[in-house]
């Protein structure tokens, strides 16, 4: 019945995952999926656990995470103040709107050649690409957040004689924070994608390069184990940012249990 709280068994997710893994194993063992394309699940899992004991693997993870963290950090430092400044001034907003609308849809990967020319094939290129790509979602979110302030709140604050800075601190920022938090979540995923892309395409050190090396060397178990590890990192970052968002926004209606 609609409206009834869903009571799917709590074990459903576990059963589904186990089922999918078993299906993978059966399909490859029986030869339905040729083994030269997809090694059996157990062998891939073994390879993954072997990898997790090697220092090469962890240094690749470290390199990828470094690209992600620096790129996202730079984007945060640049995009949030820029978004607040542009969002607070109508004239400034209108002057730069065309640029934002034009630059935003440009695929950041189109800049890979430029990044290689200017920054070489190392960490700098990776950070530049990650920062460029994650800058836009954050800027747009901050901008919309600051512009979406309830006019009644602003007018009230003005009537009570709050100055510009105080209005920014007490009214604009708190009401923009949900938008910014969403922006951080999107940008974090984007930064990881661009870090891996840079490793894959231009060969900067990290998981992306390892995956490509495994592919060209024909080490399939290795390649799949690395892909799974990359997915796991993306998943964990997603969980972390969602948790962080919940914690920062515990006061906000979207995060209250009742609202669900």
């Amino acid at each position: 019945m609609p409206g009834r709280p869903s009571r799917a068994p709590a074990a459903a997710p576990i059963i589904a995952v186990a089922g999918a893994l078993a299906l993978w194993e059966v399909l490859t063992r029986t030869g339905m999926l040729p083994e030269r394309y997809l090694p059996p699940m157990t062998e891939t899992a073994q390879e993954l656990s072997r990898l997790m004991g090697t220092s090469d693997f962890w240094s690749a993870v470290w390199n990828t995470m470094k690209g992600w963290a620096l790129g996202l950090g730079i984007a945060l430092v640049l995009a949030i103040p820029a978004g607040i400044a542009i969002g607070s001034s109508t004239l400034l907003y209108r002057s730069v709107r065309v640029f934002i609308e034009f630059l935003r849809p440009i695929p950041s990967v189109a800049l890979i050649p430029l990044a290689v020319l200017i920054y070489g094939t190392g960490l700098d290129s990776k950070v530049f690409l990650a920062a460029f790509a994650s800058f836009w979602p954050l800027l747009i979110q901050t901008l919309y957040g600051v512009r979406d302030v309830d006019p009644v709140a602003t007018d009230t604050a003005r009537a009570y004689g709050l100055g510009r800075l105080e209005r920014l601190w007490r009214i604009k920022l708190p009401s923009a924070i949900p938008y910014i938090a969403t922006g951080v979540r999107i940008s974090s995923a984007v930064a990881l994608i661009l870090a891996v892309t840079a490793e894959l395409v231009i060969g900067a050190a990290g998981l992306g390069r390892e995956i490509n090396l495994a592919r060209s060397g024909g080490a399939l178990e290795n390649m799949y184990a690395l892909i799974i590890a990359t997915g796991a990192i993306g998943w964990m970052l997603n969980i972390l940012t969602t948790r962080g968002e919940k914690r920062v926004l515990h006061w906000h209606p979207s995060q209250r249990e009742m609202a669900r």
């Binding site: 589904a16 209108r94 020319l117």
Partner: protein, 261 residues
Amino acid sequence: MSGRRRRFVGLGLEILVPIAVLALWALWSAGADSFYFPPLTEILDTFAETWLFERVGSDVLPSLARLGVGYAIAVAIAVAVGVPLGLSPAVRRGASPIVEFLRAIPPPALIPFGIVVIGVGDGYKVFTIAFVCIWPILLNTIDGITGIDPTMNDTTKVYGVRGVDRLRKVVLPAASPQIFAGMRTSLSLALILMVISEMVASSNGIGFFVLESQRSFAIPEMWSGILLLGLLGYLLNAAFLLVERRVLAWHRGARASAEGT
């Protein structure tokens, strides 16, 4: 009175500032004599030479075809899978860890997988584009369906509308605004994956051209390719908004009249 003046100044800024910046760029690059940043006029000349219309058939059309096919496959699969997931809480809970995991894999990491399984032809590019574009549409389809107003669901049930009719007349229309939001996100992803897949392994396409130009230090050509990709992103987005406005006209109408009361 000051309101009108402000609006006038705003409009002036919106038109004049971009022109001024472009002019500044042209002036600066003309005199800068930098290897990496050739004069704007030279980039534009190269752009006209390269893309109007010499390479349209050899690079632009293949690229756009891959993008179109991959995107269409993604939309079809995502909506077809999203509907049952959205309608049944049990199926949704079971599938959620798998969906969450597959979605979290950074898309470029799948390119080697595509190359190994499908080969370096068009197939793997289409596969990569489709695989990545599925997730935003799928998640939005699910959210759109689970977010259907309970009153509407109850009414549907009371009137005995079920099966295909319910799907066509209630579920899909009610979820369509969110499905379109997902499709818009996916469209820009499709363009990005098109470029990446062509940069990794290809013998034609815009991504291939841009990377080749950089490798052979044909800097104006590289810039012209970047410019083309920017234009493509902008135009695809604009075209999508037009389509969306048409298809969802009823929705905006309903919203506006609801707000008007």
